[in-house]
């Protein structure tokens, strides 16, 4: 029997659509890359209005350092928001862990047999574990006792704000050992050796390139292109065509050019900051988790329809618990990056950061209802906020105006996203 049920807008042939039209592919991609485009436009805007300061190598490096802790936390927050929850405690938790790191390394005087605790690596590991435990404790209450995450983490925010004040006894503690400072202030060593393009002399700006950075950039680009081509040929071999060849080439060229340009700028200053390496590894890991791992897939299913996920055999409680534990560990790492950057732990550290983190995830296209969001979006969202902070500060825009403008941008981003979705639905 061949029934032809009337369904407007749906082809009834049952065959997969093999070739997308160029226009269709462009539209689909525009939505995916719209955010990146917005970031580039914002950067160009500030490049113009800061008289070229924004794109100076030293400033680009600064933007990365200033936003690293936001991005690290945005990765975890993305999972939380996709799972349909929220975490208001991350700012306070990061502040608390920064304080803990400071006390372990410089504040507390350990007896000789416990002195190893003050070792930056040991202390760092302890801090990550403590962060994960804090996240796990909150996650336990949320997942297994079904207390709304808003309330649990609101309480957490207050508790850890108080705790960091308490362990620091209201004072700033620092400075940190040199090894620890490297986390935020260090750059990868130039093992290949610098390339001098313009030697230092009278009246000319010298230009020395950090060649290891360039080597890493080229390797990364080659790897990316290789993966893209492999994926495309695998799809083709199975008869699943995705986008026209021309568009595929242009897209990869543009991204490669952007990466190369960016790394070239960094190389002409001091190379890759250590923290960018950490961030890069984490971003890649979280992209992999969300796109390719069953763990990530289940989080999307959980946020999309909790009941359906549970009836599909997904252990929804355990999954929620893990997501919060991961968030806690990332908040701890962010707290250490922040403390290392300031080179001291202060009682006020981390306060209000949760709002920047949450804003970054929402600007990145995540849905407040859960089930929707992408790591790349959250990272770009964080950079959009970061570039605006940086650009406006250079322009000398007052802090009051900065806040208002950021609020408007958040609203506009979400409004635009919803408008787009409604139109396509």
């Amino acid at each position: 029997m061949t029934t032809e049920t009337a369904q407007p807008g749906i082809t009834s042939t049952g065959e997969p659509v093999k070739v997308l039209t160029v226009l269709g592919a462009l539209q689909a991609n525009l939505r995916d890359y719209g955010l990146l485009l917005a970031l580039i436009l914002i950067m160009l805007f500030f490049q113009y209005f800061t008289n070229g300061v924004l794109f100076k190598p030293v400033n680009l490096t600064n933007i990365i350092l200033q936003n690293s802790y936001i991005i690290v936390m945005a990765l975890g927050m993305l999972l939380i928001i996709v799972a349909g929850h929220i975490d208001l405690s991350v700012g306070s938790v990061s502040g608390f862990v920064g304080a803990l790191a400071a006390m372990l390394m410089v504040g507390w005087r350990f007896p000789p047999e416990l002195a190893f605790l003050a070792n930056p690596f040991v202390a760092g590991a302890i801090c990550i574990v403590v962060g994960a435990l804090i996240g796990a404790a909150q996650g336990y209450l949320i997942a297994y006792h079904r207390i709304p995450s808003f309330i649990v983490t609101l309480a957490g925010m207050l508790i850890f704000k108080g705790l960091s004040l308490a362990i620091l006894a209201g004072k700033s503690v620092g400075p940190f050992p040199a090894e620890f400072q490297l986390l935020s202030a260090g750059f990868i060593p130039d093992v290949v050796g610098p390339i001098t393009l313009i030697p230092p002399s009278e009246g000319v700006q010298p230009l020395v390139l950090h060649s290891t950075t360039l080597v890493i950039a080229i390797v990364a680009i080659l790897g990316m292109v290789f993966m893209a081509i492999r994926g495309r040929s695998r799809r083709k071999a199975r008869g699943y065509e995705s986008e026209p060849f021309g568009l595929f080439v242009v897209k990869n060229l543009v991204i490669a050019a952007l990466v190369l340009f960016f790394c070239y700028m960094l190389a002409s200053y001091r190379g890759l900051p250590n923290v960018l390496v950490v961030m890069g590894i984490l971003i890649a890991l979280f992209v992999f988790i969300t796109k390719r791992m069953t763990f990530g897939r289940r989080i999307y299913a959980l946020g999309g329809n909790l009941k359906a996920a549970a009836l599909s055999g997904i252990k929804t409680e355990r999954l929620t618990f893990y997501v919060f534990a991961i968030m806690g560990a990332l908040a701890a790492l962010a707290g250490m990056i922040y403390a290392a950057r300031l080179n001291s732990a202060t009682p006020k550290a981390g306060q209000g950061l949760e709002l920047d983190v949450i804003a970054a995830v929402f600007i990145g296209g995540a849905s407040a209802l859960g089930g929707v969001g992408a790591v790349a979006g959250a990272v770009i969202g964080a950079f959009i906020m970061g570039v605006m902070n940086n650009g406006m500060s250079i322009m000398g825009v007052n802090i009051d105006w900065q806040q208002m403008i950021k609020g408007v941008v958040l609203l506009a981003a979400v409004f635009f996203d919803l408008y787009n979705k409604n139109r396509s639905a």
């Binding site: 369904q7 763990f295 009836l311």
Partner: protein, 511 residues
Amino acid sequence: MTTNTILEMRGITKTFPGVKALSDVNLDVREAEIHAIVGENGAGKSTLMKVLSGVYPSGSYDGQIVYKGEEQHFKSIRDSEHKGIVIIHQELALVPLLSIAENIFLGNEQATAGVIDWDETRDGARKLLGMVGLNEDPDTLITNIGVGKQQLVEIAKALSKEVKLLILDEPTASLSEKDSAALLDLLMEFRKQGITSILISHKLNEVSKVADRITVIRDGRSIETLNKEDITEDRIITLMVGRSLEDRYPARVPQIGDVVFEVKNWSVYHQLHRERQVIKNIGINIRKGEVVGIAGLMGSGRTEFAMSLFGKSYGQRISGEVYLHGKKIDTSTVEKAVAHGIAYATEDRKTYGLNLIDHIKHNTTIANLGGISRVGVIDDMAEMDVANEYRKKTNIRSSSVYQVTGNLSGGNQQKVVLSKWLFSNPDVLILDEPTRGIDVGAKYEIYTIINQLAAQGKAILVISSEMPELLGITDRVYVMNEGRIVGEMPTSEASQEKIMRSIVRAEGKAS
């Protein structure tokens, strides 16, 4: 009966970007008649009613609406309600945590200067509840009454707006036979009082029972309007699907083997009320290649039974044993049940079955991610292959596996739910109301899938409120009433009367 035309819709054409949902639809409804609109899912019935009630404002469609002799340009639902046209949607629009009285007068509060007169509200509500034959305290919260009664509250709410033309979209889709019959009686009562009703329904037996005239819609066009004397189910079906349908149930030769699945002494207590026993010592068995049905009225505990079996997804203080191939198994979590090869496709696919914001591919694989992954890493290509394979197998109509399931029609959504469970490769499939709210053509396809599964040797349990369906597709039927099995018969010896008799006899004993 007068034969004045109360409503005429002429040449209605409504286009969405890229799609013509309605083209040149004509409908005329006479005063004080029950006019049924039938058609397959996606034929455009709901769109037509949204045009009529102003959900799609005047100007967003072509054509004319003439109501009570005047051309109307409704800009919103408020406009149409103002003229006495009230639409009751399939998904009820009641606020669960407000009382019956509050819901009836929601947006139309009995108030002076914004201050609610509660006596007036309660009295008014009581009067309206009397008119629809609902004997409930107006202060009862909506969440505490059943779906059938909620439907009546919706109608009472419509009456409060001095309705002249009542539009009901699939009003009996989630009602038991008893509640459905009561609702239809009510419509006939309204007809006597001069209220016109437009009834959209899939249930052809109901339609042919109460409707004075029927308009059939297919592919966004009005095909024909039948008068009462011309109405037969076969005729309607022929018009609906555009061809004659010799048999509504595909034929099959059952090949039944040994008992595969057996449940003994199954008892469950209510999710919230610890003392209330919902399932009372039930025992059933299913053989290899057998399709077994559970008949019963709404509220007889069929869904509760199935969900409690499937990973304790319903109820508390669950006791009893489950055997698979003669061995006792543990089904205390969904994961364990699935691992033992049990699958449960829910009756409520939107709430419990699908992630509506995600596409077909992800929904197909979610219950068996292990089947397309290694050490937690998903093989993208394998997933693509699986999704396409099951899309073809279950004949899902979509542009690709990347179509979001929320945009599919009910029948295609149900096929995605089936795909999901087929991919988990179960031995025992529990299908809860597998064809609820889907059209005749898609039903046939689902029956065909069920037959194929039985032919592969799976044990299948079908829960259904539609008795003809159970009689058409099963080999054996259990009858359930108030948490007990009150009858069991081979389908060859069963009939609707016989099933009803077991239920009634059991109720007689219980009281």
